[in-house]
């Protein structure tokens, strides 16, 4: 009978052929500050490793690029078991703002910039920033409501077309 097993040496050679990541395409659909930062740090981290990155802001993600809203994003204190706050306590007036303030101050200590500055850094680093056409229409937004550094308004199809090529990865946040 023919031996169809791969030898250990062959296995090693195959596993060593690691292909690099060339492009990260991030889709941001939420406006909670933890999700927004996760997205931005992923995008910036990619650029710092020489990987291309693009962010598609859709649904509530659009708040992160709306001039009037981007510095006022909050972390959820209700319905967020990860905060370890009793629901009744988390729902009290001011709790959301307090928790957000504490989180922001911790990030500042680590030299993580506020959302507006972070977007400038991303744009300067070559991260492409796109707004979702459908979400903009749904929320009745115009380009004037959004940051100046925005590269354009795209449909999901446009965004998928930009994801062509080997080594491109899409991530939904």
């Amino acid at each position: 009978m023919e031996n169809t097993l791969i030898s250990p040496k062959e296995k090693l050679v195959k596993s060593e052929e690691k292909k690099p990541i060339k492009k990260m395409m991030l889709i941001l659909s939420k406006a909670t500050i933890d999700n927004v930062y996760a997205c931005f740090i992923l995008a910036n981290g990619a650029r710092m490793e020489g990987i291309e990155s693009e962010i598609f802001f859709t649904f509530f993600g659009l708040e992160a690029i709306q001039k009037k809203k981007l510095e006022h994003l909050h972390v959820a204190t209700v319905g967020n078991p990860a905060m370890h706050i009793p629901t009744m306590l988390g729902g009290l007036p001011g709790m959301e703002s307090l928790a957000t303030k504490m989180m922001k101050s911790e990030m500042e200590k680590l030299d993580i910039p506020p959302v507006g500055e972070f977007l400038e850094i991303l744009a300067a680093s070559g991260t492409k920033l796109w707004a979702c056409k459908l979400a903009m229409e749904m929320f009745h937004l115009e380009k004037e409501n959004l940051i100046d550094d925005l590269d354009g308004v795209l449909t999901v199809g446009d965004f998928y077309n930009r994801a062509k090529g080997d080594g491109t990865h899409l991530l939904f946040i």
Binding site: I41, R47, M48, D111, I121, A124, S125
Partner: protein, 105 residues
């Protein structure tokens, strides 16, 4: 971290396995120039200005981040990416003979 010896510009220097110098005292301009050549960077006066800034920050034990570089007044972030494409902080720190900055920003 493993240390090994490499020869840059005819000088023996101690490096880690990623090629970053482990002792800045062993660095000189010729070493920096050769590392830059290996990274495909053609050094200009502006490049050296940035290198000097990075070494200065390292000596003062100030952790480096892309945000800090952008605010340094030496170079803007856009310019930084133009001078050292594809991973400016990790490439410029290698050329500068300082450890790779461990920062997520």
């Amino acid at each position: 971290m493993e240390t090994m010896e490499k020869i840059y510009a005819g000088i023996n220097v101690d490096c880690n396995e990623e090629g970053y110098l482990t002792n800045l005292d062993q660095w000189n301009t010729a070493v920096g120039l050769e590392i830059a050549k290996n990274e495909g960077i053609g050094m200009t006066d502006k490049h050296w200005e940035v290198i000097a800034y990075l070494q200065d920050q390292y000596k003062k034990e100030i952790p480096l981040s892309i945000r800090k570089v952008g605010k340094s007044g030496v170079v803007s972030i856009k310019e930084f990416y133009e001078l050292f494409p594809n991973g400016p902080l990790k490439i410029s720190s290698k050329i500068a003979g300082i450890p790779k900055p461990v920062s997520c920003i």
